[in-house]
């Protein structure tokens, strides 16, 4: 009986958590008048797919998703790459000032983007990078958190492997790519997924550095769609569904890595 109670409670909570997502999907398949009718329709009895086409083309969601995909990929690849390079230096190379520089990297974690975004806007504007992918990507290329995490992973690579590789004829650069990175793959994967998730969801920065369609990302596009498409509210819902698809795929395909990435900080703390 207690088991039944647990399942009941779980199911009720699951319904509550899922409801906003469910209603979004349903509403994307209803006509605006059906959405506004009272009592509200909670099932798509006669699904209409037109809203998706309208969001994709009329609402430019297609273009925005492409932009988002490019920017997100750029940020993810850049962050992981730069973090790998820096982490390798901190873990395997000796150079004067290494400890200090590592602290510098850690310090960046204490300066939130919200503290510096408006000056960065000025910098990007001065560089002539407003409304460009570069402007959206550049400020996020480096990550102190990622470098820290990868350094920890690299430090678990046994020193004898480095020695063996040195005798086998592999210098630092080839050791990095052929041994260190493959061995740190779980961390690299977690970091990549985490970077993708946060980059895809960015809102403040794309909002201020884009004011036309050229580079505008889908998150800003959603807000715009909501403002402009009040009469076809189903199109807004369709846009939300479309914009969420990459993250849903990410969640389903890389759940383990995602959990690792999200909890990485928690384990450290």
């Amino acid at each position: 009986m207690r088991l039944a109670g647990r399942y009941l409670l779980l199911s009720v909570l699951a319904l509550i958590v899922l409801f906003p997502i469910y209603i979004t999907v349903v509403n994307s398949l209803l006509r605006p008048d059906q959405i506004a009718s009272r009592p509200p329709g909670l099932f798509p009895t006669d699904p209409q797919w037109g809203a998706y086409k309208e969001a994709w083309e009329g609402g430019h969601i297609g273009r925005y998703m492409l932009n988002s995909a490019i920017v997100t990929t750029g940020i993810m690849v850049g962050q992981v790459l730069l973090a790998i390079l820096a982490a390798y230096a901190f873990a395997f190379l000796e150079f004067p000032g290494r400890g200090f520089l590592f602290v510098v990297f850690l310090t960046t974690m204490m300066i939130p983007f919200e503290v510096v975004f408006f000056t960065n806007y000025q910098t990007i504007a001065d560089l002539g990078l407003l409304n460009t992918y570069g402007g959206l990507i550049l400020p996020f290329l480096a990550t102190g958190f990622g470098a820290f995490l990868l350094r920890q992973a690299f430090l678990t690579v046994p020193g004898e492997l480095r020695d063996a590789a040195a005798l086998d004829g592999y210098g630092h650069w080839r050791f990095l790519w052929r041994v260190a990175v493959p061995l740190a793959r779980p961390t690299v994967a977690a970091l990549s997924v985490f970077a993708f998730l946060s980059a895809w969801g960015q809102y403040l920065w794309p909002l201020i550095v884009t004011d036309d369609d050229r580079a505008r990302t889908v998150q800003v596009g959603l807000a715009q769609l909501r403002r402009e498409a009040l009469n076809d509210i189903n199109v807004t819902f369709a846009g939300v569904v479309l914009a969420s698809i990459p993250l849903v795929i990410l969640l389903l395909a890389f759940q383990r890595q995602l959990v690792r990435g999200l909890t990485a900080g928690a384990v450290k703390g």
Partner: protein, 298 residues
């Protein structure tokens, strides 16, 4: 001879080290440290009323003005209210879901996926969804509350911040659930078994075994959640634009408005420094506690 070679090799290694660190350092320099330092200079200069006029050095006057202004106080109060409205609820909900879904039972995988699902929504998506739910004409929440046609919850200064908080809590449920579940996984099973042997029932086990073992996770989530809440922006911009009547004008949103509506980056810089100090304090508290815990563990 050998010394020469080893000196050369060491120099080569060092050079490679700097080269590998350099790209990150450049990015940090341009997009973290430069703007961070620039804030202090901006804070000391008053922005002229018309663009084109030179900025005027005013020392700490502007800092004092901003920090003592009722507008800043209100914004700070709202931000703290927002933190209090979102963080504890988020943690309790995440913990509840995690504890319920923790047992290895048939079908738990589905519940876990559902409870994690909101991490697949962005702040903007969640905000747009809830904006429609809260909408006075078509919103289901309004309809079920029997407020259709009335002043919408987002237009009512008394409820706007709560509505924004609800949106935020929902969007963060997935993250909170994942963090709490990971924390629960860290509680060794033999502790439960010991407690079971001792005859502790479910509730006692929760309070005396689970919760103490989970306290690092809870604490970490509280700090990180607070830092995130202090940085909230997207949900405000989409749901209320800081309104009505500044009822949801949190710190970051007011910084945004100072710069991009009023063109006053001097005032914005002072607020940004304040935000930095708050986050710094939270971080230091977090590090201190983590450190103390490490030394206990030893």
């Amino acid at each position: 001879m050998s010394a020469q070679r080893s000196a050369r090799r060491r120099a080569k290694d060092a050079l490679l080290g700097y080269a590998l660190v350099l790209p990150s350092l450049v990015v940090f320099g341009v997009f973290v440290f430069y703007p961070f330092v620039k804030n202090f200079s901006l804070a000391l200069h008053r922005t002229p009323p018309f663009p084109g006029l030179p900025k005027k050095y005013v020392g700490l006057d502007q800092v004092k003005d901003v920090l003592s202004s009722s507008e800043f106080h209100k914004s700070l109060r709202i931000t703290i209210e927002f933190v209090m409205l979102t963080v504890p609820v988020g943690i309790v909900l995440g913990l509840l879901l995690a504890v319920l879904a923790h047992k290895q039972l048939r079908g738990m995988g589905i519940y876990r996926t559902i409870f994690s699902s909101t991490v697949a929504t962005s702040v903007a998506a969640a905000s747009v969804i809830f904006w429609t739910l809260f909408n006075p004409q078509i919103g289901l929440v309004t309809y079920w509350m029997g407020r259709s046609g009335d002043l919408g919850v987002l237009e009512d200064p008394k409820t706007a911040l709560i509505a924004v908080a609800v949106t935020t809590v929902w969007q963060n449920i997935g993250l909170s659930f994942i963090l709490m579940s990971a924390g629960l996984q860290g509680v060794p099973d033999d502790l439960y078994e010991a407690a079971a042997v001792d005859g502790a029932d479910g509730a006692r086990r929760f309070w005396h075994v689970t919760l103490p073992m989970l306290s690092p996770t809870l604490f970490f989530s509280a700090v990180v959640g607070s830092i995130m809440a202090f940085q909230a922006f997207g949900q405000i911009d989409i749901l209320t634009r800081g309104g009505p009547d500044d009822a949801t004008n949190v710190l970051v949103y007011s910084i945004y408005e100072d710069v991009f509506r009023a063109g006053n980056d001097g005032v914005a810089a002072v607020k940004a420094i304040a935000l930095f100090v708050i986050v710094l304090i939270l971080t230091i508290v977090q590090l201190r506690v983590a450190e103390r815990r490490v030394s206990y563990a030893r």
